[in-house]
């Protein structure tokens, strides 16, 4: 009987396991996870779970009956692999053999080397991270958030709702500027400012000051900000280290083809989720990592089908991959939702409303409409999504 090892027990690993079964794979499936938890939903960690308490079982994904027999190896990360020998080695010393491998090890928050005390510096990726932050968010606490992307902004909104004093420091000109553009980003900044968040944009942090715990952050212009809690949300790093030495393209995640297969002369390997740098035929031939919540499900489905075919000795479907990237965000009861890839646009057009109220914004490049973002206009986005899906041709 053939065996598959899935490295990564997040949403991508879960969906890959389900897709293997849905596509007729009857061999053994072992899922390796560095956290102790079964696959759970992360977006609430910066929102309701941060505000109301982190209940991990309540965040667990529904697991289909087809994967009841999966062997979950949780709490021990993969540390190395030998694709020619078809083995993965875990931090606890266990070596697992496989016939097919799913790379679903995801990303971790990027950490910046900043001098000064380290105690009090947090990230927000795992349930344990959220639990540690949650205990420190109290009325009047000075929370300093590094980074003005979605996680930084959602965390700011949650911390304000809990009564904390919140400052955001980011080198960007506006919050969420890469996906949203400067104009809508400014509109979102004003919403945050109305709720009392203070922005220090165009700045980075030079150092932290305090005895053994951060008390003050010193910005690049010399400004000193009180910081009882620092939350760092300045991007991510793909967890590829355990794949080193296998002659793979690990320059930004793990490169795959449109079937999510990794080019290697040894065992069949597929990649899913945040770590998979894959082409999407809706947006040209460039392979990209897309860190949106819906992509692990989309890539997991495709990768599971590919690997099941390869292990059965069949040729997998190598046709174009055309999943629609989508993100959403909830900040002060304002709902942002996006379809497509607004971040690759070179022309942005407000087509409905105002960036300070309910609105719809179109994102274009030379090829036409590449993305849409709606704020509090979710029910009107369906025609835009349809237009974007038609890019498949």
């Amino acid at each position: 009987m053939s065996s598959v090892v899935i490295v990564g027990a997040g949403l991508g690993g879960l969906r890959a396991a389900e897709a293997l079964r849905a596509n007729g794979f009857t061999g053994t499936i072992t899922v390796v996870g560095d956290e102790v938890h079964l696959p759970y939903n992360r977006p609430p960690l910066s929102k309701e779970a941060l505000a109301g308490g982190v209940d991990v079982p309540g965040l667990e994904f529904r697991r289909k009956a087809s994967i009841e027999d999966v062997d979950w190896r949780l709490g021990s990360a993969a540390v190395s692999s030998d694709l020619a020998e078809r083995t993965v080695t875990l931090a606890d010393g266990t070596t697992l053999a496989f016939d097919g491998l799913v790379v679903a090890s995801g990303i971790r928050p990027r950490r910046l080397p900043i001098p000064g005390p380290q105690e009090g510096r947090h990230v927000l990726r795992t349930a344990a991270d959220a639990h540690a932050v949650r205990d420190r968010l109290r009325p009047g606490t000075h929370v300093l958030i590094m980074g003005a992307g979605f996680i930084g902004c959602e965390t700011a909104a949650t911390a304000r709702a809990l009564g904390a004093e919140v400052a955001i420091v980011a080198i960007d000109e506006q919050p969420m500027v890469r996906p949203l553009g400067a104009e809508l980003g400014a509109g979102m900044r004003r919403r945050h400012e109305e709720h009392g968040v203070r922005f220090h944009l165009g700045h980075s942090i030079d150092s932290f000051v305090g005895d053994d715990h951060v008390q003050v952050a010193v910005l690049s212009d010399g400004t000193e900000l009180p910081a009882d809690v620092v939350i760092e949300a300045v991007g991510s790093v793909a967890n590829v280290e355990w794949l080193a030495g296998n002659d793979l393209d690990l320059s930004d995640g793990l490169l795959t083809d449109s079937a999510m297969q990794v080019a290697t002369s040894s065992a069949p390997v597929v990649a899913v989720g945040d770590i998979a740098r894959h082409p999407n035929a809706l947006f040209g031939s460039v392979a990209r990592r897309i860190e949106h919540w819906n992509m692990p499900t989309e890539t997991g489905r495709r990768a599971g089908a590919t690997l099941a075919a390869l292990l059965a000795g069949d040729e997998p479907d190598r046709g174009p991959f055309c999943a629609m990237p989508s993100f959403w965000s909830d900040q002060y009861h304002h709902k942002l939702q996006s379809f497509g890839m607004p971040g690759i646009a070179d022309r942005i057009e407000l087509v409905e409303g105002s960036v300070d109220g309910p609105c719809i914004v179109e994102y274009h490049d030379a090829s036409g409409l590449v993305g849409v973002v709606g704020v509090d206009r979710t029910q009107e986005l369906a025609p835009y999504r349809k237009q974007l899906a038609a890019r498949a041709g």
Binding site: R15, P43, W293, N294, K335, T378, L381, A382
Partner: protein, 63 residues
């Protein structure tokens, strides 16, 4: 055989991602609120399961 669908409206944030997987079962109304049919034909099961999979709030259960 029918498929029973339940959406936890305390969790649902009306993002409408489910509507793209099974538009005959899930729909956003004019006010942007999710409406759905609680029972569907067995032949719709795969699409309804997909809708449950893609719900950002994981608010959909299927029996």
């Amino acid at each position: 055989m029918t498929v029973k669908v339940f959406v936890d409206m305390d969790k649902c944030q009306h993002y409408g991602q489910c509507c793209f997987e099974a538009s005959d079962v899930f729909e956003l109304d004019e006010d942007g609120k999710l409406q759905y049919v609680a029972e569907a034909d067995e032949s719709r099961r795969d699409d309804i399961e997909s809708a449950a999979d893609v719900c950002p709030m994981q608010a959909i259960s299927v029996e």
